[in-house]
Symmetry: none
């Protein structure tokens, strides 16, 4: 009975608009931003936000997952670069530098009692697998210490994200933070 086309195009567009607006607003004003504010930023009625995301928590989660999806895609794209050590380093640096806003969202979700691991697991083979590949290759190439596994690298990534955030606007300092992390991860 219910197909998936007619107005579905508009609906999908609205969903995307909301998601995008939410990402921006949460990043800008924090996760405490009101749903109303997001609706306005998206240019839709508040009812529309709740139609697509039945709960503020659901919206937060969706934003978080969409970020993780993008990260996974990015990591995957780097998997076939020639120099495994370099690929690893570059991706870590990129991931860390891009993530500050994600942290707040993760925090908010955690505060709401959401099982973050479960959520991440939902991304499935996403980030985890992509990272796994990058890491293994870098370790095989002798570029990264052998005692690191994916969960630990993820913890380090998260930490570095906050570290970079704490470093403020000073480009040099941010780079230094990342550099320390990479040095710590390198073999030898």
């Amino acid at each position: 009975m219910t197909a998936d086309r007619p107005l579905r195009a508009d609906a999908r567009r609205n969903r995307a608009k909301v998601l995008e607006a939410a990402e921006t607003v949460f990043a800008t004003r924090g996760t405490g931003a009101s749903t109303e504010e997001i609706a306005q930023a998206a240019g839709v009625g508040i009812g529309t936000v709740f139609r697509h995301f039945p709960t503020k928590e659901a919206l937060l989660e969706a934003v978080f997952l969409s970020r993780l999806d993008r990260l996974a895609a990015q990591l995957r794209a780097a998997a076939d670069q020639p120099d495994p050590g370099r690929a690893f380093r570059e991706q870590i640096a990129l991931a860390v530098d891009a993530s500050p806003a994600k942290n707040a969202i993760a925090d908010a979700l955690a505060a709401a009692g959401v099982e973050l691991d479960a959520v991440k697991a939902g991304v499935g083979t996403g980030v985890r697998d992509a990272l796994d590949l990058l890491l293994r290759r870098a370790q095989s190439a002798g570029a990264v210490r052998a005692d690191l596994d994916v969960p630990t690298v993820m913890a380090l990534l998260i930490g570095a994200s906050y570290g970079v955030e704490a470093a403020g606007d000073d480009r040099g300092r941010r780079a230094l933070v990342i550099n320390v992390l990479l040095d710590g991860m390198s073999a030898g």
Copy 2:
């Protein structure tokens, strides 16, 4: 700056009770915990909380600063240990492992638009100076890379706190995270 009328003994006691309760409650239930809940935990009326801390933000700030004060004291106590490199490493590890709950508070403050740097500066010569001493000595001893300065170390500390938190309950993983950080900071 602020006139510091010594504060009647019972008043001071109340202030301390509130601060302590706030630290516990914020750590336990998150910074979203209501002021009322803190008042109850402290065994005082809500009016008393607001008499001592005119704003929830002020209370959060006070809790954060009190933690920093304790950290400063700890760092200072380590300044005269014989082996500067070891002292540095030990203190970093200690600070990081003890800090998880602090993070949420710093986040909340940041979200509230409080200039964290300013606040930290307010601890004055506290953490900053103690850390400066430890760092310089370790660098002179050739145990820590020379391109690190205090603000960067603080950023790294903050990041490592979150990293450890993200590592979860796995003792080994937590240690590994700290280890990576220390390796990254070490000279050579």
Copy 3:
């Protein structure tokens, strides 16, 4: 008054489906049930519900009237039974026992400020006339007190419906409530 273009066959079918679903849903989940829920139960889109009943109130009214229609038909069918007193008693008992769900609807309508009398008048010669016939015959036969008129009997019916509802699931108690009512209405 209202132009009654025969309504395309499928349209009529939809109208009936909605009415039926509404009756069930209102009875099951109360009159606070959302229109959306009714649409789903009827297997139609929400737009269709509103096409046939421009207002939730209108839908409620239609359900109510449809019940009254059935009641009228039932009363009419009993009009030619041989024993007028017995017919009256049986019909009263039947009407009362079947009506609990109707009460909630009548309440909701009343709460919405609908003139219930006007609505009932709309059923026209329906319940009123059928009841009139039954009552007169029973009174003529000396089975029912002479000071009762149709409006009063209707008020008693409504009251008894709620009484039975209040009696709960206890079959014996429900019967007793009806019995008291019938005794009160009987002559002598």
Copy 4:
């Protein structure tokens, strides 16, 4: 620590104001009336309403219980009248005639899934016991049929309340409804 006097006087007065306003507003505009409206009618802030009644449901319940309490008091006061049959009849008539607005509240509570019986039981020995006394005495005096028990009388009372309400403004008709009920309850 917490005594029960100082500002308690004001608080109690406010609680009473809210309860009274709620009773009026619910009776006037139905139980769908907004809490805000009640706050305004009571001349207090909306927060005050929620301080005293943590939920709209709780407020509804309190209003209902307060009515039942008054009814119980009234019934109890009639217990020592000389003529038990007369006392019973008078009290039933009074209770029924005074109750219209109560019905809506009972309905709302029932709709909210509140166990009405439990609530009524909470009035404790209130209405139930007072009614029990009246009923027994009237039955002993041979004025009321012996097969009635308290729960059934309560169901009849509720039904009669609605019946009277349905009878509208016509004094004569209202009296007739009550009369039928009393006749049905009388012995012989």
